[in-house]
Homo-oligomer: 584 residues x 2
C-alpha cells in the first residue's frame, strides 16, 4: 500500500508514530514559513503541517505549489495539535511531514468539491467522477452498498437462492417499450433487455427453486419523466407454496431488517389497506401515512341546501387541516389558485374555518346555516383552530385533486418528516384497468397476476370489478414494491391473455414457453419486486433517485460524461444486418 | 404457507406430529391396498404412505392416479418406518396421509428428472426449467449462490464498496465486438453493452472510492467457441493507492476465503511464476500445477549428434512421464499420432524409455549412444520406469505442442484430480502482442494496463519486450482472473494509444473522458476481474460453465427455451429509426 493509515483513522493514541498517508489535497493554508494542508480520502480528513524550522527547504517549496485535488503521499510524525478541531474525528492530531511525493497533479476542478458546491446539474453530470468525490454524494452510494449487503444477508438467511437471470432475452411488446439488441449471428433477429425477470423467476418456481431472489438491472425504453432512468435496479423475489400472507410477512421482515440495520429505526407493524379504501380515504393508491388528514365525504350533509356546485357534483369530499384556521385570506386564495392550476384541475375550493372562539366561517355561508356547518365540523371531527378544505366534482377526479391538496397541506404544515417512516401494504388491486387510448383493458400489474378466485365469474360480465391477488408496499407516499400471487395453470393464463386482447397465436408466440411450463407441474407461487433505487432514496431522505445511482443518465437518456449513445461504425451496422433509417 | 415442513426436515423426533408437506411426486409404488409416494422438493425427499385399512377409499383413489411430477399437498401423521432407508436423511420416517390435494397435474416430462437422465443436450436446454429440477443441476446453482454470498462477505469485510456501473454504455471497437442497442430518442445513435466495467471502475478510483467491487454481467458478441457465452459474469474489483503486491495478497485472500467457506479446503500460499517461466517450463501461460512434468530443454545435449531433425530445430524440449515406461508400443504409436493431429501439429515425437533394468531404449538409438541417452535421463531427472517424450521445432510452436502433450499425459496418468486445487499467479505478462492479422501490436490485456517503468524506454525500440504490471490467477490450468496496475496519467495513456495505432482523434473520441479524468487528480490504482462462471465450474469440478448458468444460451447464442433472438415488429424498427438489411 502507498499508505500506512487512511486519512480517517489517526487519533491521540498514534502520537509519535511515523505514518504515511495518501489522498487528495482539500485545502492549503500558506503562512509563509508555515503551511497546512488538509488531506482527504474516502475515510476522512487529516491535517498535514510543514514548518520552516524543522522541514528542509525543498519540502516547503514542494508543499507551497500544491493545488486543490492534487494527489499526494506524505510521510511524517503524528503530533498533538495545539488548537484542536473537534468537528472532525482526526482533529486532535496533525502530521509533521518529513517527506512528500506528488503522485499526480490536478487541474483546477470545474466546481468546488465540498458538501456545498457551486456546480450546476449539467456540469456535475459531465464530471460525475468529480461530483462523486464529494462526501455527501459518495455517502449516498455507501448507503446503497449497505442496503445491498443487508438485503442479501436477510434473503440468504431466509433460504432464498440468488439466481442471475439472462439479460439478453426476447421482446414482448406488452407493457413498456423494450430496448432491443440486434443479433449478428441471427440476421434480422433481436434480443431484448428485460423490463423485469418476471417469466424467468416464475420458471425457477416451476423448477422447484422454492425461494429465489436477485438484485438486478432492468430496462425500459420510455420517454423519461423526471426521475426515471432507462436502466434501474430491482430487488426481485419469488416464493413457491405460499399464499399472499406469507409474502407480506416475509417482505415486511425484509423492510424491518433494512430499517433496523441501516437506519437504526425499529418499525412497528406495517399497516394494511385495500386499494378501495386507499382511494376512498386518500384518493391515492399510495397514501402518505405520516399524517392523518383522511378524506371525509359530505354528500348527505352538503347536498340539497341550494349550493348548485355541490348539488351537481357526484362527490363532495374534504380534508381537515389541524390548526390551520389561522391561514390568512391571502394564503387561502393562493391555495385556491393552486388547486385550480391545470396540473391539479379543480374548478374551485370551498373552505370553512373553525375559529378559536367556536364560530365557523365558510366561503359558502350564503347557503349553509351555522348548524349545517357544525354538522360538517362533526363529520370532520374538527376542533376550534382547524381548517376544512372541500372539493367537489366527478368522484375519481375530485379524489385525485384532493389527494394532491392533502399532500400539499401535509408539506405546508410540516407533517411530512423525512425521518419518520410509515410503510403500508395496499392490497386487493383491480386485476384490469381500462385504457382510454387503446380502448381495451390492460393488466394493472402484469398479465401473470392471478385474479381472486371469488371474482373470476366477474371476468366476463364486469372485468373492471375483478380484484387481483396483488399488493404494493408504500412508504411515505412512495411506491417501493409491488407483487402478486401468480397464475400457475395454463387454462387461467390463457383466459387472462384472452381478456387482454391477445390472439391465441400471439399468446403462444410470446409466452408459449411459460404456458407449456405450467403443464409440467407448476406449484402455486407469488412474489414481489422492490424498486431499489427508490428504496435507497427513501432511506437517504431524498426525493430524487439520481444521486443514488453511480453513473445516471440525464432526462434524455444520455450519459453526458462518456457521451453515449453515439454513432457506430458502418462496418458494425453491416455486420448486424441493419441500416439507419436516418442520415447521420 | 401451503406446508408446515419441507420434504427434507422430518426425523424420528417428529413422530406423532401432524404435518403438511407440498412438493413434486418423484415416484409412486402401488401395491393395491398400499401406495407409497416419494414427495420431492428443493430440501429433500419424504415418503408418503396411503393404506387401505386406515385411509378412506377416495384418498386411495386420489393417490392411485398421481403421476410423475404432479404437484401435491399432503397432510398426515409422521410415523416410524418399519424398513428404514439410511440413504436419505428422512429415511427413518414416513407420512401416513389423511388428506391429499393435487395442486397441479403434470404431463409426462420429456426426460427423466433424476440425477441420471435420458435427456439429450438440446432437449434439456429447451426444457431447462425441468432440467433445473434435477438435484445435480440445482446444486450447481446453489453452489453459485454460496460463492456469491461469500465473495460479498469477504469484499465487504475488506472495505470494498459494491457499485453498480451502467449497462447502457458506449461502443468502443477495440477488443471484442460489442452488442449494441439502438436509441429511440437519439435516432442513428447506439448504446453498447459493456464487455467489462473497466473505464467506470477506473473513474470510481478517480472519485476516491478507494475500493470497488461488483459481481456483474458482461457481454461479448463473439463467435461462440465451445463453452463461451455471449453474457457472462465477472467479479470485478479495483483498488487505489496500491501496488501489485497489495492486489495479489487481497485476492489471494478472497480465493482462500472461498475455498475455505465453500469447499472446506484450506489452500496453501498461492505460487507465483513469471509469464516467461510459465512459457519456458510449461509452454503455457496458464500451467496446470497439479502435477510437475516440467519442460526440459535439450539443445546442448541433443543437437550435433547427426540427428538432422533435432539439429535443424530451434528447440528440442521434452517432458518426463513418471512411471510410464511400461507404455506399450501401441500406446506410444497412438500418442505419436495424437501429437501429429492438425489440432496439435507436431511433425513427430521422439521417446526414450528408462527401463526397470536401467537400460534406456529410444526411437533414435541410431544417432545416440547409451551415454548420450543417460545424459538425457540426467537432464530429465529420470529414474528407471520413466518415459521421456521429446518434441522439436520452432520454439514457440513446439512449446505449445508439448504443453498439450503434457496435459494429455497428466490426464492419462490420473494426475489431474478434480479435488486437488493448485492456484498460481502468473506475472509480468508482455504489454503488447503482435497480431498477424492486423499486422500491428495489440494490448495483451487492455489499453489501460501500465508498462513496467524500467521497460518504458523499450516501447519505441522493442515494443514486444515491454513487460506489463499484469497478472493472472490460474487454478488447475484454467485462467480464473486477470488484472493489472493501470495507467493513471494522461501522457502515458496517450503514449499507449499511439502504440496501439489509435489516432489522437480516435483516442479522444472513445476515451477522451477517461484521459480528461486523469488530469483532475487520479490516484495510482489497479484491479482484477474474475470469471465467475468459470470459478464456479472449477469449484464444482466441471469443465463446462454452462451448467453453472441458470438459463444459458446454446453455441449459436440462442436461448432455445424462450426462442430468442426473434423477429420484432415493424413498428419497433420504425420507432428505432433502423431498417433490416435482410429479408425477414
Amino acid at each position: 500500500m502507498l499508505r500506512t493509515h487512511t486519512c480517517g483513522e489517526l487519533r491521540l493514541d498514534h502520537i509519535n508514530q511515523e505514518v504515511t498517508l495518501a489522498g487528495w489535497v482539500q485545502r492549503v493554508r500558506n503562512k509563509g514559513g508555515l503551511i497546512w494542508v488538509d488531506l482527504r480520502d474516502r475515510y476522512g480528513l487529516t491535517q498535514l503541517i510543514f514548518e520552516e524550522e524543522s522541514s528542509e527547504k525543498e519540502l516547503l517549496e514542494k508543499a507551497a505549489i500544491l493545488g486543490r485535488e492534487f494527489v499526494v503521499q506524505a510521510t511524517g510524525m503524528v503530533v498533538e495539535r495545539t488548537s484542536k478541531n473537534d468537528k472532525i474525528p482526526t482533529g486532535s492530531i496533525e502530521i509533521k511531514v518529513t517527506a512528500l511525493e506528488v503522485l499526480n497533479a490536478a487541474k483546477v476542478p470545474p466546481f468546488i468539491i465540498e458538501d456545498e458546491t457551486d456546480g450546476g446539474d449539467e456540469l456535475r453530470m459531465k464530471y460525475r467522477y468529480l461530483d462523486l468525490r464529494r462526501n455527501v454524494v459518495r455517502e449516498k452510494l455507501q448507503l446503497r452498498h449497505k442496503m445491498m449487503q443487508e438485503t442479501r444477508k436477510y434473503m440468504d438467511a431466509q433460504n432464498f437462492i440468488e439466481v442471475e437471470t439472462p439479460v439478453l432475452i426476447k421482446s414482448t411488446p406488452e407493457g413498456a417499450r423494450d430496448f432491443v439488441v440486434p443479433s449478428r449471428t441471427n440476421p434480422g433477429e433481436f434480443y431484448a433487455l428485460p423490463q423485469s425477470p418476471q417469466t424467468f423467476k416464475q420458471l425457477l418456481m416451476v423448477s422447484g427453486f422454492d425461494r429465489y431472489f436477485q438484485i438486478v438491472k432492468c430496462f425500459r425504453d420510455e420517454d423519461l419523466r423526471a426521475d426515471r432512468q432507462p436502466e434501474f435496479t430491482q430487488i426481485d423475489c419469488e416464493m413457491a407454496f405460499v399464499d399472499q400472507e406469507d409474502i407480506l410477512s416475509t417482505f415486511e421482515g425484509l423492510t424491518k431488517h433494512l430499517f433496523s440495520t441501516v437506519k437504526g429505526v425499529e418499525l412497528e407493524e406495517v399497516q394494511r389497506m385495500t386499494f378501495a379504501d386507499a382511494m376512498r380515504l386518500y384518493g391515492n393508491d399510495k397514501p402518505d401515512l405520516r399524517f392523518d388528514m383522511k378524506f371525509v365525504e359530505l354528500n348527505p350533509i352538503a347536498k340539497g341546501k341550494g349550493f348548485g356546485i355541490f348539488d351537481d357534483a357526484e362527490l363532495v369530499v374534504g380534508i381537515c387541516a389541524k390548526g390551520a384556521a389561522e391561514y390568512t385570506r391571502k394564503q387561502l386564495d393562493a391555495l385556491t389558485d393552486w388547486v385550480k392550476r391545470p396540473q391539479i384541475g379543480a374548478k374551485g375550493m370551498v373552505y370553512a374555518k373553525y375559529n378559536a372562539d367556536g364560530t365557523i366561517k365558510s366561503t359558502v355561508d350564503k347557503f349553509y346555516t351555522a348548524g349545517d356547518l357544525r354538522a360538517w365540523a362533526e363529520a370532520f371531527n374538527a376542533e376550534p383552530g382547524d381548517l376544512m378544505l372541500i372539493l367537489s366534482g366527478e368522484a375519481n377526479k375530485v379524489r385525485k385533486q384532493l389527494s394532491e391538496l392533502r399532500l400539499k397541506m401535509g408539506e405546508d404544515l410540516g407533517l411530512r418528516d423525512r425521518n419518520v417512516f410509515k410503510p403500508l401494504w395496499v392490497m386487493d388491486f383491480p386485476l384490469l384497468e381500462w385504457d382510454e387510448e387503446t380502448n381495451r383493458f390492460h393488466a394493472m400489474h402484469h398479465p401473470f397476476t392471478s385474479p381472486k378466485k371469488v371474482d373470476i365469474p366477474l371476468l366476463d360480465v364486469n372485468p373492471g370489478a375483478v380484484r387481483a391477488n396483488a399488493y404494493d408496499l408504500v412508504i411515505n407516499g412512495v411506491e417501493i414494491g409491488g407483487g402478486s400471487i401468480r397464475i400457475h395453470d395454463r387454462a387461467t393464463q390463457q383466459l387472462m391473455f384472452k381478456h387482454l386482447g391477445f390472439s391465441d397465436e400471439e399468446a403462444q408466440k410470446q409466452f408459449g414457453f411459460l404456458m407449456e411450463a405450467f403443464e409440467y407441474g407448476a406449484p402455486p407461487h407469488g412474489g414481489i419486486a422492490f424498486g431499489f433505487d427508490r428504496l435507497c432514496a427513501i432511506f437517504g431522505g431524498s426525493d430524487s433517485i439520481r444521486d443514488y445511482i453511480a453513473f445516471p443518465k440525464n432526462n434524455s437518456g444520455r450519459d453526458v460524461m462518456i457521451d453515449s449513445p453515439s454513432s457506430i461504425a458502418d462496418e458494425q451496422l453491416t455486420e448486424l444486418s441493419i441500416q439507419l433509417a436516418v442520415k447521420k
